[in-house]
Every structure is written in structure tokens, then in C-alpha cells.
Symmetry: D2
Subunit: 403 residues, 4 copies
């Protein structure tokens, strides 16, 4: 048992920390100004392109790709989470593109990789993942109603999706769409995935959904999209017919590591801001830092963050060592524990900032909305708890059956 990062990871962490200090944090007020100057745009403001160039120059690019193990990449993802509107995209490591790139790298044909993966890796285009639907509880994949039907040399897609993150922006060219090819198959073989260029006739991007008041515009928002007899070539299928559920699952394991580590980075930043704040503000004759309730928030935040990080790193190690499937319970565990735990820390950091903590003057409200949304994204907490409990109960049930 050994709890230190390896040397390569330490080196990358140092480079990235230095990049955060020299480039990312200074870009935050620039981003705010550029957004204010063009408030209705869904495209990335210019500062993002500049950061991407700077990151590329330093070799901090596409780090999520499997040249690094999960437990090497995880601490880097954490650092990017400290400035989630800028750092992940600066490194070309932002969701949902990372997941889509991994999906294409693992399951795509050579032609698919040539056409889509290459420009994604170069950040020339963006992509979206279209799974969730407005009309059903899509955390249960068997509920999905979008249909993908074969018609001659084409797949025809019909359905309505929402929460397709990134798709409000015209820079998003690729929609990775899950639908049912065979509703009569066994539950987890009904779904398939096809690649749909965003400009295909029949695709309508309707509007951006807000997340607790935030539009997430600079990332292309979260789109509601209808697919009305949308035709794509048969070659646009990813993997085989009926592979959709399995491919989506494969996408989720490392994706959750990334999401969770970024949230932990957000929590660390919030704790930093809280500490910096409370040593400089006074009420009732004493700095906030000496009020017992504030100390309790700080201590609890530290204790929770450490536990959450260890849980995620152990899960990364499990995936690296035993594979995605062996880590299934642990991937659920981090999905359950991290968003709720980080939300708690963010709430306390906001409270320590007084009314200002609610405002756009600190990143706290934005970070909070990310954490809150991850208690629902990829399935609400409750679905994962149910599943983890059933996993935990299995041996007891089996024993009961024998007895």
C-alpha cells in the first residue's frame, strides 16, 4: 500500500500548476469580460483559443488519452477542475469531447477516426453526446424512445434528446446519438450508437437548457435537439447493432473519474477561497477564521475532500489494474459520494463569503451548479445507490436461496 504519486505524475502536476498560475487564473476575468461583451453567444470566447495554443505549446494537450494511466491522469483532472470553464478546454480535456474521443478511439472504424477523431484531437471541432430524453426517466436505459431504423444504406434517426452538452455552438459538428435499433431485444442489446453530423437535415437544435440559472454558454450550453427522419450512412454506426448500451457504459467509467476529480479540484479551490476570505473579514470583534462554526466548516471540508479523493484514486487504480468492469461498484461509489460531498463544501464556502458568495464575483456559485448537476447527470444518485445496494446484497440473497 503506497499513497504517493509516481514521478511522471508529479512532473506533470508541477507543469500544470504552473500553467494554471501563469495562464488560467489570469484568463478568468478576461473570460468574464468577453462573455459580458457578447452575452448571447454560445461559442467559446477568444481567450479559450489562446489558452489552447499555450497549452499545446507546453505539451499539456489531450492528456486524458491512454498514454497516461487513470491514476496518473486523475490528479491532473483535479487541477483543471479548479477552473472548469477554462482549464479542461484549454487542455482539450473537457467533457463530453473526451468521452467521445475515447469512444471513437476504441470503437470507431478507421474512417470514423479519420473524419471525426482527428479534428477533435486538434480541437478544430467539438462534439456532443445525445442520450438523455425529456419524456422518460432515461437513467433507466430501457426507457429510451429514440429510434434508429435501417432504411436501405442509411440509418434513420427519430427522437428528441436534451442535455446534449456543447451542441448549442456551431463549432459542435458531431452528435453521437444513442437510440433503439431493436426494442424487442433483451434490455441491454436494444440500443445502438450512430454518428450524426450536426448539419444533417432533420436535426433541429431548439434551445439551451439552464442549469440552476446558468447557461454554460462558453461550452456550447446544453441543447434540446429533435431528430426528424435524420438519415446517416450505414457506416456511421459505432460498433455493432445492439452494442450501444455497452459502449455507453465503457465511456462512463473513466468519464466519472474525470468528472469526480474535477469536482474535487473545485472543492479544493472553494476551500482555498474560504480560508483566504475568513482571515480577512471580521464580525463581532474577531476574524471569521476564529469563529467556531467557520472552523468546523473548514475542518469538515478538509476531512471530506481527503476521503473523496482517496476513493476516486483507488477507483482509478482498480480500473488500471483490473479493468472497468471490476471497478463497477467503485465507479458507482464515487458517483454517489463526490458530487454530494463537493456540493457541501461549496455551500459552506458560499456561506463564508456572505452575500457576495452567491454572486458572479466569485466562481463559487458556478462551481456549485456543476456539483449539483452531477447529482443528476449520468443518472441520479438514487439510481446508483439502488444499484450499489443490490450489488452489496447479492451474496446474502444467494445464501438465502441456498439455505
Amino acid at each position: 500500500m503506497h499513497f504517493a504519486h509516481d514521478d511522471a505524475t508529479e512532473r506533470l502536476r508541477e507543469q500544470l500548476l504552473s500553467f494554471m498560475d501563469s495562464h488560467v487564473y489570469p484568463a478568468e476575468p478576461v473570460l468574464a469580460e468577453q462573455v459580458a461583451a457578447d452575452p448571447d453567444s454560445w461559442d467559446p470566447p477568444p481567450v479559450i483559443g489562446q489558452l489552447q495554443q499555450a497549452a499545446r505549446d507546453r505539451g499539456l494537450w489531450n492528456l486524458f488519452l491512454p498514454t497516461l494511466t487513470n491514476r496518473q491522469y486523475a490528479p491532473l483532472a483535479e487541477l483543471t477542475g479548479r477552473s472548469p470553464l477554462l482549464a479542461p478546454v484549454a487542455l482539450n480535456c473537457s467533457a463530453p469531447d473526451t468521452g467521445n474521443m475515447e469512444l471513437l478511439a476504441r470503437f470507431g472504424t478507421e474512417a470514423q477516426r479519420e473524419r471525426w477523431l482527428k479534428p477533435l484531437l486538434a480541437a478544430e471541432i467539438r462534439s456532443a453526446f445525445c442520450m438523455t430524453e425529456p419524456d422518460v426517466a432515461s437513467s433507466d436505459a430501457t426507457n429510451i424512445t429514440t429510434r434508429i431504423t435501417a432504411d436501405g444504406d442509411a440509418w434513420v434517426v427519430d427522437g428528441r434528446k436534451w442535455w446534449s452538452s456543447g451542441a448549442m455552438s456551431g463549432r459542435c459538428r458531431l452528435l453521437v446519438v444513442m437510440g433503439k435499433t431493436d426494442p424487442a431485444a433483451e434490455p441491454h442489446r436494444q440500443q445502438s450508437i450512430v454518428l450524426v453530423p450536426r448539419e444533417t437535415p432533420g436535426v433541429t437544435v431548439h434551445r439551451g437548457l439552464h442549469v440552476m440559472g446558468f447557461t454554460d454558454r462558453t461550452h456550447g450550453g446544453h441543447a434540446e435537439i429533435t431528430f426528424d427522419r435524420v438519415r446517416v450512412p450505414v457506416a456511421n454506426l459505432v460498433g455493432g447493432v445492439g452494442d450501444g448500451f455497452a459502449i455507453a457504459q465503457a465511456r462512463l467509467g473513466p468519464g466519472r473519474i474525470h468528472h469526480c476529480m474535477r469536482l474535487i479540484g473545485a472543492a479544493e479551490r472553494a476551500l482555498e477561497l474560504m480560508c483566504a476570505r475568513v482571515v480577512t473579514r471580521s464580525t463581532f470583534g474577531r476574524p471569521l477564521a476564529e469563529h467556531g462554526v467557520v472552523q468546523e466548516w473548514i475542518a469538515e471540508s478538509r476531512v471530506r475532500i481527503e476521503q473523496l479523493r482517496l476513493l476516486v484514486l483507488r477507483t482509478a487504480w482498480l480500473i488500471d489494474t483490473y479493468g472497468n468492469r471490476a471497478a463497477h461498484r467503485d465507479v458507482q461509489a464515487i458517483k454517489i459520494a463526490v458530487p454530494a460531498g463537493v456540493e457541501w463544501v461549496l455551500d459552506k464556502a458560499i456561506q463564508a463569503h456572505g452575500a457576495g458568495g452567491l454572486s458572479q464575483d466569485w466562481p463559487l456559485s458556478m462551481l456549485w451548479s456543476h456539483a449539483r448537476s452531477l447529482r443528476l447527470a449520468d443518472g441520479p444518485d438514487e439510481v446508483h445507490k439502488r444499484s450499489l445496494a443490490r450489488h452489496e446484497l447479492r451474496p446474502y440473497r444467494d445464501a438465502g436461496r441456498d439455505g
Copy 2:
């Protein structure tokens, strides 16, 4: 001990319920459209004026004024809280105007009432209350740095305020400003209140502060304002020199009853939405309504709402019966209990709605941001808990001193 509303209250509740059904709820999508059509305005969209006319026609106007007791008005405030962007303003019962109108009615001179109270009662103008400051923890009123100094026949105001709700809109004409007239006086006699017309030279309205992502535009937002050698006539002082703190306190008691009852209305609406939702959605072969965790949310929500409402109504009764000061501990108690309790209910209602619950398609995220902000507005929870605890401890300390 008797827990039923009196007949007059029941009649008003019925009228208001009927007005909510016939006018307010149908106006909600209209409001959304009007905001979308003019996204950068800080003024009330036209639908609000129409609702105000309809309310006036029905006699549902300025109900907060002391023709009703607090425990008669409280259940009406609750109902308006079910649609907080529309119903309170429709009845001319929205913060901060209600508090300012009460302040003018109680402490204003006849001239002040003629000039400001009259048009406020007619909803011809709006007003703001400028107390909180960005540079200090203003929950401790002795921290306030804005200065009000006498200069000939004028008061001169210098300082910076923020969270001046409503003041982003040009329809807001009156700023009720607290500042220090005598920083050397005893702590609660240092402050005075002056009336400052928004168009006075030296007043600069800088920007609107967001509340967890929301701008609250249709209410005139929450402004940051500087006062740079702003001169107003001596006659613009409210009450006497040094009365500022006492006047602000008098404003707060009934104000908190209103805030808290509106939040309880928000919680009731959220519980309604949650119940309606879970009987129509299914996962894993059963309606959400039959999942134990969802049932727990609903039961806990009901149990918490009932307790919170009783606590507020008892406080209203205390104010009615024994006056503001006698109810001080109880006013703190509702400030501590209600925002946090309602936030909990809203969080669960959001969770029951899946990702949609985060979005603009339901009022839940907006209601949540109101509840969250009230854990900070008028002083963070922690300040009130500290004060209530000291109140509770006083007899023990005194006994200790004797012993």
C-alpha cells in the same frame, strides 16, 4: 390554543387562491416569453402591469398594510410565494417595497409620505433599500462605512452599497439609504436613514449582482451603487439622527414573516410539483411514487413544511399580541429555520424531476435560488444562531454571576 384561520382570512385566501388559478399561473409562461424577447432589460415585462390591474380590480392590493394582522396576512403571503416572480408584485406586496412603504408610513414625515409613499402604494414607482456593503461584513451593523454628513441644509452621502434589490430598473425612483451620521456614538445610535432619489447627482448604479446564476431582472435585479458626495435636503432624513438602526430593525420583523411565508409557499408548490411528477414517471418497472426514497422525501417535506408554517404563524401571533420586540427571539428562529428547511424541500423536488428539475422548464431552480439567498440576506444564518443562543444562555449566565 386554536389553530384555524379566522373567517376574514379564509375569505381572502379563497379569493387569492382563485386569483392564482385564473391569473397568476397562466401568466408564468407569458412572463418567460416576454423575458426571452427582451433578455437584457431590467424592467418589469408588460404582463406584470396587467396582473396588477387585475389584482386591484379584485381588491387584492397592498394587503400587507396594517388593516390585516400579521397572522391574517401571513397565509396570504404564503400563497403569493407559490409564484414569487408574479404574485407578490401583482398585489403590490413585494420586497423591498413593502418594507419601505411600512417604514414611510410609520416613520416618514407627511411630506415624505406624500412624495414617496403615495406613488409606491399606487405602484407607480419602485424603491430600494441600501444597507449591505461590499467591503465589510454588514450583518454586524457597526461595520457599515457609508457616511452621511451634515453640510448646510443638506445631508451628504458617501459610500458603496450592493444587493440594493430593484435598483437596476429605472422604475425604481427612491433609494432608502442607511449610513453613519456619528461613528463615535454608541454602536446602535451611529446610523441614520436618508431618502435619496435615484437620479440625484453622484448616484451611480453600476451593475446587477447575480444570485446563484439568476439576475432577478424582472424585479430590477440587485444593484451595486456608489454614492459620491450625494446631496439631499435635510428634510430627507427618516426619523431622527441616530435612529437608523432602530428603524431598520422595526422594518425587519414583519418583513421576515413575509419572506418566510413566501418561502413556505414555494415549498408547498415544490411538493405539489414533486407529487404530480412522481405519479407519472416510472423507473425499473414502478412509478417513482412507489420508490421508498421518493416517499421519504415527500413525507419529510410534509412534516417539515407543517412545522415551519406553525413556527411562523406563532411568531405572527406573538407580534400581533405582544409586539415586535417581544417576538425578537422568534423572528430569529424563523429566519434560521425556514430558508434552510425550504431549501431542503426544493432540493428534493429538483432531484425528483431528474435533470429537468435543474432547468428553466420548472420554477424549482428559481425558487431554490430564492431560498438559498435567504440563508444570507438580512444576515447569515450563523449570525442569527449566535444571537439566539446568547438570548437562550442569558438566564444561565446571570445565575452563574449570582452564584
Copy 3:
């Protein structure tokens, strides 16, 4: 709406408060000594008889009986809960005897009342209520396995019960036993109740169950009892065949008011002890009373206790005004809210006392075990939440059915 007690209640409260001060609190150390001197007895120590005599002399006797309304009796029950090992029994108002006496008064024949109710009202004997069973989840009454079968002029009882409070003591003469007379009837008509003298052949009292380490000896503990072909006369049936469930339910409503009010009394006492403690202890150069975390405990305790009490009093008013059935939802609400809320207060009071708070030197650990046990007694919280949620959801389901 009116939140003050009536004059009669105020007078009784004063008498009882005075009795607590003059007799009950001083008897607490006496009880501890008498228990220590005879550690293995399950009978009430002599001090209890003396207190009973003193209470009788003051007319503080059998107050639970319907000469008082529920909202008159409730505040008295609260006061007795401040010293639950002594005050309720001193006034002959302790569970389960109160419930059994009400049951006999309401549903008993004249002969049953003569034989059992009279000596119970005089505190000459004690009684137990035998419902819960070790082998099934008895919160679901249809699970009950004890059988009551007719055989000639007798009912024959066979089964195993536990948590029969009071029955370890020989002073307990009457067992009120619920069993199934007709397992084939509809679910809530399967059960009947018979009166079984404790000394009847076939009755075996096996052992006392502990409650989180406590034996509750001075109240006759909590017994496990088997009934092996126990014969009682046909006249010992209470009510009619199949009435058992309804009678048990009727017993529960006011009984829960009593339980909950006593717990609120326990919470008030704990808060008192906490306040008294923290003004006299110092750590790190300041009294505990000035530590922010302790202040938060005190404020939260006050805020929670007030809410819980209002909820129970409103429920008492509902029962008084509209009857048991109309108050069903509210009786569930108090069962859900009070034990958990009071447990929280007790936990904090213990923590404020340091390690001593865990010990027999303060009543806190004993009070805590009562509160904890009431999260399970009369059905676990979860059963009540489920039921309350279903109640809340009914109109939505019905609407869904119509729609």
C-alpha cells in the same frame, strides 16, 4: 389562531412545575441509590410509591383521563417527560398503563373495568401491552402470528411476544394481548384483543430486553413472553372478534401525543442542562458558551424544539376538534418528527457535557435511549413515512387515474 394555553392548563402546569421542583427532581438521586442497593430487582423502588402518594394528595393523579382535552393534557405530559423515570409514574400517567386504562375505559365491559381498570387507576397493579413479536416485522400488523382460538368457554392463546414493557415486574398483573382470531379475514379484521392475567398457566416471562444498554428495570423492563395454550374465559375478549386492529389504533393516537410531549420535555431538560453546563466550563480560555459550535447547538435545539412542540399541540387540537381519524396524518407526522428531533438535541447535550454526558451522572444517556427507542416503537419511522407519503400522494394518483 391563538397560541396560548387556557387558564385551567396554566394552573395545572404551575402545580406540576412546583411538584417537579419540590418532589420529583429531589427524588432522582434517591432513585439511583435505591436501584444501586438492589440492582437485580425489576420492581419499582420505594421512592416511587412515596411520590405517587404525594401526587395523589395534590390532585395530580390520572390526569390523562378525558376530563382534560388533549391540548390541556399535552403540556402536562411534556413536564413529566423531564424526569421520565419518576414523574409519569408518580402521576399514574405512564405508558403502557395509560393506554391500557383508556382501552378498558372505552372498550371494556363493566366487569372488565371493575376487575382491571379500578386497581389500575389506583396504581395497585400494573399492566402490559403484548403486540410486538420477535419473529416477524410486526409494524405490519398482518404479520402477527400469535393465535387466539375459541375452545369451549375459553380463548386459547398461543404465541411469542416481546417488548412487553412493564411485564418483568410481579406488580404487573394484566397482559393485554393481541393475536389473530381469523387469519383468513380481511387484513384488519384478523386480530382480536384478550385480557390475560399474568399468572395464568402457560404464560412464561422469559427475560428483559435491553434498550441500548438500559434495562428500564424500575418500570418492569421490556419482557419476552411465551403463551403456551393459555386459557382465559370468553369474557376476557375486549370489544368484538376482529376488533383488535381498530382498538389498537384507537389506543395509539393520544398515546403518541403523550410519548411525543414527554420527549419534548426531555429535550427541554437536556437544553437546560446544556446551557447550565456551558456557562461553567472553559476550554482554550473561553467558556464553552462562547464557542460558536456550542452556540449553534443551542440555537438549533431551541428552534427545533419549538417546531416540534407546535406540531404536537396542533395535532392534539385536531384530535380534540375533529377526532382521531381526522388527525391520522398528523399523528404520523409527530411520530416521524419528534423522536428524531429530540434525539438530535440529546446528542448535542451529551457532547456539550464531555465524557460525563455518556455516564450515569446525568440523565442524558437514559433520555437518549428513550428517544432512540421511539424511532422504532409503534413501528419504525420508515413505515410511518411511507404511509404519510401515500396519503400525500393520493389526490395526485386519483387525478392521474381520471386523466
Copy 4:
């Protein structure tokens, strides 16, 4: 970063697991019987000696001693925590003897080790640690009032201690006593430690303190002891004059690892019992295991236990790698997180067992009382949170000072 145990640890875990199955669990009902047969004794029942012999025969003896690293011993301590009344003492690894043995091994003179350490290692005698005092908040060591004064060739001890665990039993021969030798020295040099044979004149063992209803008799309870002019030879000083605080601190680091891991073992056992229970009980037509609330308890329990264990193991690794002092923050973190977290799991396991969970029929109530008491033992949670927060805030304060 690597999360697997080494081979030596795995082998020891297997041996210990097998010993738990073959000897420890079967001894639990035997212990209960032997206690029931001799309810007033404070000495270990015979079954404990038999288990010790069996453990010694298998080489499972004194494992806490530094032949194993902390991260090798920690997983073994966890396993013993599954049966805390039997397994730790069976392996001669129970508190407070382990801490006292380490203290003697590290700081004792050869003569002290010969006289006391040897028989402790052989389990021929037991020992107690006398630090906490009834009259002061002893979590702040500067509050300690016991005096140790030099008088000729003797140290004279005067004072009152409580929570001296184990000292109610005559098998306890050694009291390790902390007192002040120089109240005028700097705060952490005022204290010294002396060895006091329990039979020394002037030592009076008064009574056993209960822990939430439990006496912990089989471990010699928790004694209140007075020292009235107790004389011991000068050679009985441990370390130097003024070393008492530092020695006590050195004792605490690994001690907290042990305590925390045993609690985690308790939580694992509770989770096992909960799972086993809920697959066999049904309410409302379905096994408890299929009720959503129960599933939530199980999932949350698993997720929390994993986090807590990782936090403790990382702390063990820190101590092994960088020493006690470097791990100070982390030792505080586990003290904060583990007792509260495990208490939560135990509460849910009790709830899942229904009323039986409160009783002596399951180990849950006893395990709960251990977890609860550790939120106070060695300093209440709040003291550790305060200290950890100050540690976290230090760099911000220092920066503030520079700025």
C-alpha cells in the same frame, strides 16, 4: 500509488479471519452466558483466558508491537473490531494496554520494562491510563489539576481521575498517571507521567462509569479514582520531568489508528448483519432488501466505510513513512471522521433490525456505544476540528501577516 496489502499482511489477515470464525464468534454467546451468571463482576470471564491461549498458540499475539508497520497492523485491528469485547483482548491487543505497553517499550527504563512490560506482554496483568479528570475539560491538557510533587525519594500524587478504563478489575495492577509537576512551566512542559501500582496506599477506586448504559464490565469498566497523597518511588517517573504531554501525544497517534480501524471493523460487521437481516424479513409484501430506503442505507454505508478505511490506511502509511508528527493533521482527520461515520452506519443497522436491534440479542447497541463514546474519548470532535482548521488556516494567516 498502490492500494493492495502486501503478502505478509494478507497472510495474517487470513489467519485472523479463520481465528475469528473458529474461535471468536462462537465465543460471543459463551461470553453473554458467563456475564449473566456473574452479573456484578468487573473481571474478564473465563472464556477470555481460553481465547488468549488459542491466539497465543497460533502466533496471533501482541501483533500491535512494532514488528509490523502501522499499515500492516491496521487491517488486523479492523478485523478484531468486528468482535470488540473478545478479539482485541484475545490477541492481547486491547486498549488501553496496547498504548501503555508501547509507552513502556519506548520511554520506560529497563527496570520499568522488566517489572511492568513483561507481565503485560504476557497478559498476566492489566493496566489503566489515568488522564481525564471530572472537574475540568481535560481535552485541553493545560486544565489538568492532578499534582505530582517531589518529596524526598518519592513522587506524591494528588488528584481525581475518571474514565480510567480497565481499572475496576483487580487484574489491573498498574495505573499510568498524568499530572502536573510544574504548573508554572510553559503549557506543554507542565505535565509528567508516573507509574502507580493500583494497590498503593491512597489510591481509591470508587466506581465504574457507564457508557450510554453499558458498564463494559468484562474489560474492567471505566473507573473513577482518587489519589490522596499517594507516594511512589522517584524511579517510577516515565521519561523526564515535563515530558508528560509529549509522551501522551506519542501514545495517541498509533492508538487512534487502532481505535479507528476497530470501529471500521464494527461498521463492516454491522453492514453484514444489516444485509443478512433485510433479505430475510418482509414488510408490505416485499423483503426489506427491496425497500428503497434500506437500499440507500446499505449503499451509503458501503460508500462511507470505504472512504473512512482509505483515510485511516493513508494515515498509517504517513506515520510509517514520515513519522508521527508529519501525520498529525491526518490523525486528527481520522479522529473526526471515523467515529461519526461509523455511528451513522450502526444507527442504520439498528433501524433495519427493528426493535431487536436495540437489544442485547445483537451486538449493534454495544458497538454503537463504542462509536459514540469515541466522539468524546481523547478529546471531543469539536476540539479536533478546531485544531485541524487552525492548521489549515495557518498559511493564509501567515500570508495575511506578510501582506
